[in-house]
Symmetry: C2
Subunit: 336 residues, 2 copies
């Protein structure tokens, strides 16, 4: 296993850490899985004793390397405080593994802000990238839709949104088998004159770029399959992401109540089928695009399945050489 | 009927105009309705001949006054162009009726931008109000939640958001029987330091105001009943409103597909029950708060039920003397 293809997994981050994280690592290498990872591809980062004990309980270590980290960033630590006061956290050590070349990717279900800050500061941006952005892919019944930025950059400039369109497009093409990704800008009306100055400027820049830019898209059209990549500022993106999660829970809770009142036996099955179509854990989580390294930002609530999917996303992204494609793509666009 | 209690109804606006609008007016005055309006309370504005023919077809005019308007603003007219080139549109004439004192409220299912611009320009703001905002109330199973601004003011200042909190609170108290409305700010984290500068400043102002301000609320918590009034900028609010509509359709479409595959006979009933909880037409539509007059902004897709609910909302708002309460409330807050 060449080191730049390895994935440093933060075992200590997330609501169900470390058990669900370890179970996820085991699931990712299970031979009954579609495309299992080799165990040596995963570098477990966290409290060595707990990891060893945890793996023992789950049936043994199939060959994961372990790197000790003595500290844990918790969900309420501010990113700045975490970086300052916890230099030996599992997030910091995992990012360092990428920086030092002993891994190519980091996966964490922990504190998103701390992970994004550590990775951005520690790894730096890719050549040509102005600001990293978080991309999230929703399954939507086989029509993956990627939205970015989901919260890395809450007050972007128009040129950042342009680059999100480019990076998102390259990601959709290289990692999601979308031959000619349609890029749209999330806005409150279809006309180019709609929205804030930021969006008017971004619309003009996206229109002029060598992209399949399909224009503005309104919120009600997001789920109509009209675009493969949807560009937005990090504030709106983060509100949207959390809103969809909360609203899906609310709505499906009502549906389940109705089904119960009709004594329907298939409520659980129905819920699973519907959730799978909207759950972004199906695609493994969020990807911090634009940093020198692959960074997968998992959901805090991730279970073993979501962790295994996140590892799969990191592996696919490394195998596709996404970051090299992004550097090339931005350079070519500049040259045109 | 005193004139300031009358409601000018734009018969020509909306996807199903004029038929659904006329049917809605008839529904609002039907004696089998909970609290029917008196026909003389409604002033129909639009093409006189079409209105007369339409009413005839629906069984006759129960006593509505009709005011002729020779023009119609269509959904694609820009607000500025509509105001300039269609001075005799049904929206313009309905707003004029309020301005001249022959009605107290205007209700339209037509072009939202044109209605908001006409009403704001034509009626002016209430004393003390800096910028009007659009408030939308969701039923949420008997726990109404009001969100504003939904799109009147896409780049607000912090003091506008403060006033949205105040106006929304007064609305919830006077019109939604909420004794002590909890006001929240839509943000991407709970801490006061989260979000853009706009939100940090608005958080400080809302905290200092004589309001039951419960702090920042994230999107996933919007549907948890944690607040009665949620304040946001008009861009985010508009994205959220449309997103919820689109996502609900997408999600319920999947649920219906699943039910069909199980041959469930109660799919339609289930859909109606769930939709009623999230449909803001249950509360009659959106209210443009802060202008000198009651302005109800209906959904373009409104059917007769939604139109009748919108008329009911206008009547309740007039009867509660909401605008007088807003002027008093803002003056008192200023004096504290």
């Amino acid at each position: 296993m060449v080191e730049f293809q390895r994935i440093a997994l933060d075992v200590m981050g997330g609501d169900n850490a470390p058990d669900a994280i370890l179970a996820g690592a085991l699931r990712a290498v299970a031979s009954d899985r579609g495309a299992p990872l080799q165990p040596e591809r995963i570098l477990l980062v966290g409290d060595q004793e707990r990891i060893e004990a945890g793996l023992k309980e789950l049936g043994g270590n199939p060959g994961f390397e372990i790197r000790h980290a003595s500290q844990v960033v918790d969900m309420h630590d501010s990113p700045a405080a975490a970086m300052r006061s916890k230099p030996d956290s599992s997030i910091a050590i995992a990012v360092q593994a990428v920086k030092k070349g002993s891994a190519g990717a980091v996966v964490s279900m922990g504190n998103t802000g701390a992970l994004v800050a550590s990775a951005t500061r520690g790894l730096g941006t890719l050549e040509g990238v102005r600001r990293p952005g978080i991309a999230v892919t929703f399954a939507l019944g086989g029509h993956p839709m990627t939205v970015l930025d989901m919260g890395a950059n809450i007050v972007p400039k128009p040129e950042h949104l342009l680059q999100y369109g480019m990076m998102g497009g390259i990601y959709a093409r290289e990692c999601l088998s979308c031959a000619d990704p349609r890029i749209a800008l999330l806005n409150i009306g279809e006309e180019p004159s709609k929205g804030t100055d930021l969006l008017k400027d971004a619309h003009a820049m996206l229109s002029a770029a060598p992209l399949n830019f399909v224009g503005n898209l309104e919120g009600n059209d997001m789920f109509q399959g009209k675009a493969d990549v949807i560009v937005t500022d990090g504030f709106t993106g983060n509100v949207v992401l959390k809103l969809l999660e909360g609203f899906a829970g609310f709505l499906l809770g009502m549906v389940m109540g109705e089904l119960k009142s009709h004594n329907a036996a298939y409520g659980g099955e129905l819920l699973t089928n519907v959730q799978r179509n909207i759950d972004y854990a199906e695609y493994g989580g969020a990807l911090l695009l634009g940093v020198s390294g692959v960074v997968v930002v998992g959901h805090g609530r991730s279970d073993a399945r979501a962790v295994a999917n996140a590892l799969g996303l990191a592996a696919r992204t490394l195998d596709a050489g996404l970051n090299e494609r992004i550097v090339d793509g931005l350079a070519n666009a500049q040259a045109e």
